[in-house]
Amino acid sequence: MVSQVAEAPADSSAGRPADRRAGVAWAVRVRQFVMATLSVAMTLLIICVATFGLMQLVPGGPLAALGGSHGKASHQQIQLLTHEFLLNKPAYLQFWAWLRSSLQGHFGYSLVSGSPVAQLIQARILPSVELFVAIASVSVAIAWVLGLWLAKHEGGWVDRLVLSVTGVAQGIPAFWIGVLIIYVLVKTGGPSGPILPIAGSESYQSSGIALGDLFSHLILPTFVGATVVTSYYIRVVRDLAVDALQDDYVHVARAKGLSEMRVVNMHVGKNIIGPLLGLMGADLPSILTGLVAVEEIFSWPGLGQLLASSSARQDYPVVLAITVISGAIAIVSMRLSRLLADWIGTGRREVLSARTGGQ
């Protein structure tokens, strides 16, 4: 029959969905990969240029921004820095020198302590990663379960209640919640102190690696950091699922006699995880910067706290290094999450293009 066109070559008609295995040739894939890599590199370069621009604006100029003007810096050290970073040469050469040494992990010296910036940062990475992973996993787990449940019970009183609560909660500054929680715990804690640790990542008495100790220290910072993020993602998951539940395949799946559990988790869940991942990747930079206030409040020895304390002392080498590193992390994770979302949602994307494209 004339109408069975699916066997035709992939691109025979504009906008007609086609076989992706036969359709996308390897050459096209390789080209796409190269283009994607190039565009990430371009973006990173722009971030580096912007950071370098900030260095020029810092009081004291690039020399200060690399740690050459702290009290202990000798004449010899300044000369060494000038030589190493070509500070007496034109700006584009300086940029090149800075970029090259940054790529090797050399960001200059702290203005306050005089030690290499890379060392300071290295010591702070692990606590920040711990806190980030805790916040991210708690928020995603709660948002996923609660969001799907709310979507299934759209319009019910629980739905309305959670929507109101999260609507307010997503606008509260995290540090404010943190400060008030510490206040309440201290006030109610009695003579033996608050029931949960309110500062740092480990107890003074502890020795070696104590997981229990780490967890008890993690609870409050995680709670505070996750409140805002979770409130937002509960709404996101709920809205995505409410939309997906309108789709016909949900009716078909129910009519087949599948359980609600399976309809929601397998059919709906599969279709919203892609868009959700894409959104989370895009939000990553703001989640990262949100860590600063949380770490500061709870004296969590992470990068955020280092950033805050270094900024307060105008320790620019540290601040700039953290800025450019987190920018790089953000861009790479954004791209990866989008890639993952695309990979999961290939079918979905083709629906969209089939709807908008073609005749």
Binding site: M1, V2, S3, Q4, V5, A6, E7, P9, A10, D11, S12, S13, A14, R16, P17, A18, D19, R20, G23, V24, A25, V28, E154, G155, D247, D248, Y249, H251, V252, A253, R254, A255, K256, G257, L258, S259, R262, M266, H267, K270, N271, G274, I344, G345, T346, G347, R348, E350, V351, A354, R355, G358, Q359
Partner: protein, 586 residues
């Protein structure tokens, strides 16, 4: 879910001797609304015996889908309230425990929905979707279930079954997807199949295939079929009995023959006439204002006409028009491969073909809205390639395109008056011109109430927006009106009215029409000449009567037989004749 106690059946038809598979009494569905709840289904009762087919027909929005969802045991939407009693094979699902109900309905009732692109989960292979419920609910092994699915798909005439099972839905064409949906519905060997607009949105040839399959399967399995559609032709092809729904209520119920030959409800007669299924032509033409009031206002119009056109020659000539797209993968596609045609003043030429055949590209390229890769276009003997900005703009007013999607063509926040007067304001003309043009008269000409002029576009119905688009187009006094699927989105009664309106305006104004459509019924009733387009080429061309009476090309024949399928079982030998005559009256 709120269920009142059992109540008396309002109007159950007497079931024949066979067993009753579905019985529903007092079905009422309401949606929460502002200020009052909206009643989608009002006290509907029906019953369906084994092996029989009941059709429900009604306009979109008449509550058919809400009824289907309820009958199929799908949970209510937020804000949906239901009442009534449903028995399936004598058992009451509402009285069962939820897991029991789920399994019972899942194996007893199958559901086929409109091919919308979301009928199948886009992220699951067809094989998985065909088998998961068999594995979970019937305890089959995956291999056995897959084997069964493959056999079923083969029976439904799908080629290369292994590939289909491994494919994701969007790697298949719309027709193949709809057959997979049908296979899912049939996979648990249901006693009852509910088909809600199962063929709507499919091309006419595929629609015919799916309809044939539905009938075959129903007879082979001695299954009951509840077929629901806005299209009376589809319903009458399948159904033994028909229920006509209008404004949430059943207005008529009877055997298919009785409904088609002697409708009692006024709405049914209108529906029949509009679908081209009745001998009598209701007084649609008479309900419109007299032609005299539509006499074209002259002045500016006369000036346009005086200018270059030799009145006898074609108003528009297109020679060897070609459009070539380059896909993202780098391949070139000839959407239009060298098409030539011409239109005389006052003539109606139709361009027919399925979606993807290049009809729309032809129109867009002719107007310069997409780049053409070759060809010549002459308006009244003048070549458009040589035109510069302002003359090109004037050319576009003379050959005016009315878009497929009228609603998308306007700012939904603008008022009708703003939309209709925009072209004239652009020309710097006063809105009430000396020669008597006014918004009110323009709206009257397209049979719209002049009081609508202050309404916002988004508050109008689809049919009304189309008329606004027409009024706006006519204000420019075009010589050729290009209509791209003007009727695709409206239901039959609105279609009929618009066809009549277009015909009258064409005759009154001496304006030519280029009609692009996939709907042969529409084309036959309005066009003087027909061109059939297939894969970028015009495969057949000729006077309307000739093409429809003795088609030459295989593809034309297939198109015509597919469209005629719905009339196979129908008593009236020449069902479309009245409509055709209406188009030819002049």
């Amino acid at each position: 879910m709120r269920r009142p106690g059992p109540r008396l059946a309002a109007a159950t038809l007497e079931a024949p001797d066979a067993r009753e598979v579905l019985s529903a009494t007092g079905i009422t569905v309401q949606f929460a609304g502002h200020p009052a709840p909206v009643v989608a289904v009002n006290d509907v009762s029906l019953s369906l015996a084994e092996g029989r087919c009941l059709g429900i027909v009604g306009q979109s929005g008449s509550g058919k889908s809400a009824l289907c969802r309820y009958l199929a045991g799908l949970p209510p939407r937020p804000g949906e309230r239901r009442a009534g009693r449903i028995l399936v094979t004598g058992q009451e699902p509402a009285a069962m425990r939820s897991s029991q109900r789920r399994k019972f309905l899942g194996t007893t009732v199958g559901l086929v929905l409109q091919e919308s692109g979301t009928g199948l989960n886009p992220l699951m292979t067809c094989g998985k979707q065909l088998t998961e419920h068999l594995v979970l609910n019937l305890g089959l092994s995956r291999a056995v279930a897959l084997q069964q699915a493959a056999e079923l798909l083969e029976k439904l005439g799908l080629p290369d079954v292994g590939r289909v099972l491994a494919a994701y839905p969007l790697q298949l064409s719309g027709g193949m997807r709809q057959r997979v949906v049908l296979a899912i519905a049939l996979s648990a060997s249901p006693r009852l199949l509910i088909a809600d607009e199962a063929t709507t949105g499919l091309d006419v040839t595929i629609q015919a295939q799916v309809l044939r399959l539905l009938r075959e399967q129903q007879r082979e399995r001695n299954m009951s079929l509840l077929v629901v559609s806005h299209d009376l032709r589809v319903v009458s092809y399948l159904a033994d009995e028909i229920m006509v729904m209008h404004s949430a209520q059943v207005v008529e119920h009877g055997s298919t023959e009785a409904i088609l030959s002697a409708p009692t409800a006024e709405y049914t007669s209108r529906l029949l006439a509009a679908s081209g299924l009745s001998g009598e032509q209701p007084g649609l033409l008479e309900t419109l204002p007299p032609v005299a009031t539509l006499a074209r206002h002259n002045g500016a119009a006369a000036a346009v006409q005086d200018a270059p056109a030799p009145p006898a020659g074609p108003v528009l000539e297109v020679g060897d028009l070609a459009v070539r797209y380059v896909t993202r993968a780098g391949a070139t596609v000839d959407a239009v491969a060298g098409v030539s045609y011409h239109i005389a003043p006052g003539e109606c030429l139709a361009l027919v073909g399925e979606s993807g055949s290049g009809k729309t590209s032809t129109a867009l390229a002719m107007l310069g809205l997409v780049a053409r890769s070759g060809g010549v276009i002459r308006v009244a003997g003048q070549e458009t390639g040589a035109m510069d900005g302002s003359r090109l703009r004037r050319f576009r007013r003379e050959i005016h395109l009315m878009a497929q999607d009228s609603r998308g063509a306007f700012n939904p926040r603008w008022t009708v008056e703003q939309v209709v007067t925009e072209p004239l304001r652009l020309r710097g003309e006063r809105v009430a011109t000396p020669n008597g043009w006014s918004v009110a008269r323009a709206l009257q000409e397209v049979t719209l109430d002049p009081a609508l002029s202050s309404r916002k576009i988004r508050t109008l119905s689809g049919g009304q927006v189309q008329r606004v688009a027409l009024a706006r187009a006519l204000s420019l006094e075009p010589r050729v009106l290009v209509l791209d699927e003007p009727l695709a989105s409206s239901d039959v009664i609105v279609q009929r009215q618009l066809i009549d309106l277009l015909t009258r305006i064409r005759i009154a104004r001496g304006m030519a029409i280029l009609l692009i459509s996939h709907d042969l019924a529409v084309v036959q009733s309005i066009a003087d000449r027909v061109m059939v387009m297939y894969k970028g080429n015009i495969v057949e061309e000729g006077p309307s009567e000739a093409v429809f009476a003795s088609p030459q090309h295989d593809y034309t024949i297939e198109l015509l037989t597919s469209a005629a399928l719905a009339r196979e079982t129908e008593p009236d030998p020449e069902p479309l004749a009245p409509a055709g005559e209406a188009g030819a009256v002049s």
